[in-house]
Each structure stands twice: as C-alpha cells, then as structure tokens.
Amino acid sequence: MFTHKLTGIEIANNQMKRQFVILIVFLARPSIWFLFHSGRLDRGIDDGIRRNGIPSSANTLRRWLDAMQVKMMKRQQILDLYFMDARSKLIDLAAFLDRVDRADGEPDFRLGAFRKALSELNREKPDRAESVLLAFSDPTSEPAPSASTKAACGAWPETA
C-alpha cells in the first residue's frame, strides 16, 4: 500500500499502480497532444510566412488556426458573404475609369499607378492586396532630404 503524493489516492499493489498510471495518461491525452503539436504547427506557419507570405499549405494553416482558435470559412460561404459587395466595388472601379476617360485634362501619375495596380488583380497568387499596395508604394529606401508637404497622395509620383 502506498499513497500517491499529488492525488492522495491509496494504491494497494503494483497492478493498481499500473492501472493508475494508464488512467492519468489517458486523461492527459489532450494536453500532451497540444504540447507536442503546438510547437510544430507554430514552426510550420512561421516557415510558411517567411517563404511565401502565407502559410505553406492549407492543411497546415487550418490546423494552426484551429490551435489559435481562429476560424476560416469555406469558399462558398465567403462568396455568399462578400460577392455582391465585391461586384458593386468592381463596377464602381469601371465607372471611375470611364469618368476619368470622359474628362479632358493633362496626364496624371496617379492614373498610371492605378492602371499598374489594376493589373495585379489578374495574378494567380493569393497576395493581390499586398501587390496592389506595393504598386502604389515608394520603392526607395533612403530617407528623403526634406518634406514639401505633410499629406500623402496615394501613389508614388515616379510609378508611372
């Protein structure tokens, strides 16, 4: 007969001792699984982000997001939720370009940057939002000598 230190449960013989250990391991399975897998999943997602900007595989992403309690919808659900909104915005874009074309005026670097950004929408990789933002961005790395204005205009003047 001995008494287990943590639980205070009295155990009569070695057979009961083995059964007690098996019971503890069985009850602790979810914690053991999480301790083992969370590190692997974190490393998987970190590697994926470093390589591609997004997790390397849909399965890795979904398992990691599950561990992080983050939900992702199915494609059909996303379309149900956002298709009409995106359709409306796309027509607005088309109407904006028509409006600009109907108007007289000098060339403007913003329009050139806009058309360059539009071309990013046809890319196959799922990083179009980032690509559009980069198409409008200042690609240089050195600090500017001084500022002539406080405001940003939305496009880098030398894009076009």
Binding site: A129, E130, D138, A144, A147, K150
Partner: protein, 270 residues
C-alpha cells in the same frame, strides 16, 4: 461584448462618442498624442496639450465610467521642425510619471525625411532611458512601406528596447510581416477610406494568427468611426470566428500588451 480601444484621439470626439463606446462594451480607451490638424506654434502649445491628455480628458472619460490612458510625444507630422521637436522632447519627462501615461507615442515617420528620422531616434532614446512602452505610427499610403522599414530598423538598432514592448500601428498587407518578423506587436487601424477595412483586418488575422495583434479605430478629427472595433467584432461573428477568439483580439490582447506598463489597470482587474 467587451473591448479595449487602444488608440483613439478622444480630444477630437464629442461626448456622444463616449456614450456609444461604453454602451458597446468599451472598458478602457488609450489616447496617443497626435497632430491637431494644424501646426502648433510653440512648445507651450504642447505643454497645454499634454495637460489636456493627462488631466482634463481622463476626467471627461470618467464621467462615462471609462478609464482613459495616454501616450506622449511630438507627432511625426510636426517633426520636420527639429528645434521645436527638441523643445517638446525636453518637457515630456515631467509628464511621464503621471498616473495615466503608458509610454511614448505615437512616434514614427510621416514623409520619411531625415529630420523626422532624427526626431524619431530621440524619442526612442527617451523611451529607452525611462523604460517606456512605445507606440509607433507608420506613414500613410505610398509612404507606408518605406517608412515602416526605416522605423523598424531604427528601433532594432537600439539594443535597450525590447521588441515585445513596441507596437507598430497602422499595418496593412504589405507591412504586417515587417513588424511581426522583428518580434514587435502589430496594430490594425480600421478606417472607412484608408488603412484597413474590417474584412481586410479579419483576413490578416486569418493569415497571420492573433498572437501579437490588436485592432483600433484611431478615431480622430478626420473620417473615422469610434465603434470600428466592435463593428469589426460583429463582422468576425459573421465569418464564424469563435467568441473566445474575438475576445482575445479585441480585449485580451490589448490588455496583455498594455499591462506591461504597471499603470494600466482596469477596474474589474483591481
């Protein structure tokens, strides 16, 4: 629903906004020092502003049962004038011990100039010397990517600053990795016309997880929505995010970051 508004310029808002925020579940608001929409003419103007942020605005918020905290600096939009910036930097330390001051912010760059960078480095040095948290403003639109890189390089070069005590705010798809990969926190600002919309902010959560992220409205005197955070939480519900995941992003995460300053205490936690 409960949330913390970690970045709101409440001196620009009316009392109805306080009522709406508290009604929606806001449990604390944090106000970084900001550009007034016009350049202040002297350091004395900033002294008055810092008094407003540390004395008047907490009292105004308290009338609606809302704890109000603040961050101090000269905003990068006024940092091109280095002489004025240095005079303002000289008066900040006397405010840092006040009970609602959480750190130095929102510092950063606006047009990515040498003068702005020089003033940013002086703010970073002040934060390091006085062991303050840092809240970073990243530039707008075409200047954001370059500015974010310059800011991150400047902070990383200061060995006294621990990255987990810095939040890089206003991240978007093209800058979020720069902040997270360097070990910093990242903030997503929910604006109707620029920065992040609610669907895009949720996309970023789904792509990068919710460990070192928060969301804010940055409501100020421009086009902005003080209830942007709870509205985005509703959008997360539409996208079937779990209630505990939403709570983590809009309440637990800001509390976790801000609690690194011992002065950040919520009534429920004391």
């Amino acid at each position: 629903m409960r949330f913390v508004e970690p970045h709101g310029h409440m001196v620009s808002r009316v009392t109805d906004d306080y009522i709406d925020m508290v009604t929606a579940g806001c449990e604390a608001v944090c106000e970084p020092a900001f550009w007034a929409g016009f350049d202040r003419s002297s350091a004395q103007g900033f002294y008055d502003y810092f008094c407003q942020l540390t004395e008047h605005e907490p009292k105004r918020a308290a009338k609606f049962g809302l704890p109000h905290f603040t961050w101090l600096c000269i905003n990068p939009k006024e940092s091109e004038n280095v002489k004025l910036a240095e005079e303002v930097l000289a008066i900040i330390p006397q405010f840092l011990e006040r009970p609602t001051v959480l750190g130095i912010g929102e510092i950063g760059l606006n047009k990515n100039t040498r003068n702005e960078l020089k003033v940013l480095e002086q703010h970073i040095d002040l934060a390091a010397r006085t062991d303050q948290l840092i809240l970073v403003h990243t530039p707008h639109l075409e200047d954001k990517r370059k500015g974010t890189r310059l800011i991150v390089d400047a902070i990383k070069s200061e060995s006294r600053i621990r990255p987990e005590r810095v939040i890089i705010d206003h991240v978007e798809e093209h800058t979020i990795r720069i902040a997270l990969d360097a070990g910093f926190w990242a903030g997503m600002t929910l604006y109707p016309e620029s920065k992040c919309t609610a669907p895009r902010a949720i996309d970023l959560v789904e792509m990068y997880g919710n460990e070192r992220l928060w969301m804010n409205s940055a409501c100020d005197w421009g086009v902005s929505v003080p209830l942007a955070v709870p509205r985005t939480a509703l959008e997360m519900r539409r996208r079937e995010h779990r209630p505990d995941a939403i709570d983590k992003l809009i309440y637990q995460n800001p509390v976790r970051f801000l609690s690194q300053c011992p002065k950040f205490k919520l009534p429920a936690a004391t």
